[in-house]
Amino acid sequence: MRGGSLWQLGQSMTRRLAQSDKKAVSRRCFASDADLKKTALYDFHVAHGGKMVPFAGWSMPIQYKDSIMDSTVNCRVNGSLFDVAHMCGLSLKGKDCVPFLETLVVADVAGLAPGTGSLTVFTNEKGGAIDDSVITKVTDEHIYLVVNAGCRDKDLAHIEEHMKAFKSKGGDVSWHIHDERSLLALQGPLAAPVLQHLTKEDLSKLYFGQFQILDINGSTCFLTRTGYTGEDGFEISVPSEHAVDLAKAILEKSEGKVRLTGLGARDSLRLEAGLCLYGNDMEQHISPVEAGLTWAIGKRRRAEGGFLGADVILKQLQDGPTIRRVGFFSSGPPARSHSEVHDESGNKIGEITSGGFSPNLKKNIAMGYVKSGQHKNGTKVKILVRGKPYEGNITKMPFVATKYYKPS
């Protein structure tokens, strides 16, 4: 199954409700349950009423007993606990791990203070995105990064290939893939208060993008104050044998307000936060500049380059990209991936890459790419859904204001 395509995943939920010859049911790659990988929390999910679906080769909960809408709203009001152990965490170590990583990503890794991190993009020779990732410089000789589950094989092969070449020239870098750890994401207003009960370290000093290795609920965890929902929250890498205990402890300490939340709500939340879903809003042929991630390209990197596809990207920075990622509001049915975007005269100006109904805003939201020049906020468009045009307009993102914990 195509990694990152939660829309197709959703299609699989309707099963025979849809015409099997027309809908994504036939497009979906069927992995038999026996072939799907399970996270450390699999039984825990099932015990809590999780509806398990195949996702990027894993059996993951798309939702629990509450609906995706309720779950999404609950995250922003109280909090959510996500099992993201399917994502791939790895550490790069060695004297040269920083310059090595800089050949592959657009971030100014050298410029990161120890214990801080950022969202970045792995690029290919054409300047397109191989994957997006949250990287953290733990120390000058240790980088911790997390990549998408659907891109795991591709990313690891890419990193390994370049690492071999780098080492053959005398570079000192090695890696360790953290399959012994599970990643949990705790997001929402209650994330910090709840997690504080489980650790002695003062979390009020850990700001957005910062990293710490500390004891949580009795085990050594990698803690990053980050997330993919737009809310304040954490991603906690815990040894897999303690994952269930940690999940239980978090749910108990919140007295039921923080709920286990599935991938369905996670997709709605990231869409509301205007964040890209790799495989939908970002792909091999789309550059970080086109995707609106110019801010992720370090200033020094914009001058020096030194990453794959730098020539293409630097030129786009100079001349401006030909297409840009924008947000949309629309009437009628929610605009979904691959819906065409037309200007008021009916000329095609772009395409939607992901969209849906926002449970928090109670309106349709979408993101997609339009030709540069047509991308200004307020531009009226027509979006074709199932062949019929519906009124829409371009808007800035995030759709729901973010609440990252930053120093005032």
Binding site: G10, M13, R16, L17, Q63, I68, M69, G264, P333, P359
Partner: protein
């Protein structure tokens, strides 16, 4: 007239206001079924609420007996009861299509919508695409769509005919399809063009089995 019937399993025997009184024996089970039926089969509107609750001290024999009793009660009331494991509501008076639409026939008019099983699998409905009035529909063909947060599903017409009424309320409140799939969540009404087509549809028992088989496969 409106008649509410509630069956309690308590230490005392309780009689219900029905032609055949139903006696319930001890233990703490409460059985309540709810459903409304139109004036087609009964001269009065009957609302009965039946819900299965967990027994505090389950004894399988008693449970089986109570279940059998409940089935008899239910069949007297002309309703299907939820089998353990398959918990959607299936109404006896309606006909069903394999694509999970229900039909209520009233002379030469048919009302349809999607079943409880369908709305449960779909999730929160956020949009219903309704057809234009006067449009003709054919059995088995799509005439509209139901969208949830995560998926879109075609609605297929269980019978052929001409659209005479659409449920405009769904434009404002698409969630009615979830909360009341058989009543307020009705989608369209058509004038039948071929009453014989109704024979091709499933009755409630067949549909219940169909749903169980489908769920078992996944």
């Amino acid at each position: 007239s409106f008649q509410k019937v509630i069956f309690y399993g308590t230490k005392e025997k309780k009689k219900a206001n029905l032609p055949n009184p139903f006696l319930v024996k001890s233990s703490s089970s409460i059985i309540i079924i709810r459903r409304s039926v139109s004036a087609l089969t009964l001269s009065t509107s009957l609302s009965v609420t039946v819900v299965f609750c967990a027994l505090r001290s389950p004894r399988t024999k008693k449970m089986a007996a109570r279940f059998l009793w409940a089935s008899r009660a239910a069949s007297h009331l002309r309703i299907s009861i939820a089998q353990r494991g398959f918990s959607s509501v299936v109404l006896k008076d309606l006909k069903y299509a394999e694509s999970h639409e229900w039909v209520k026939i009233d002379g030469n008019k048919a009302t349809f919508g999607i079943t409880d099983h369908a709305q449960d699998h779909l999730g929160d409905v956020v949009y219903v695409e309704l057809p234009d009035l006067g449009r003709s529909v054919s059995q088995g063909e799509s005439f509209g769509a139901v969208e949830s947060v995560k998926a879109t599903s075609d609605i297929n017409s269980p019978v052929s005919g001409k659209v005479v009424e659409v449920n405009e309320v769904l434009s404002e409140s698409p969630g009615l399809v979830n909360t009341s799939p058989y009543e307020e969540g009705w989608i369209i009404k058509v004038e039948l063009s071929d009453a014989g087509e109704v024979e091709k549809l499933m009755d409630s028992d067949k549909y219940s089995k169909f749903c169980e088989e489908e769920d078992a496969k996944h």
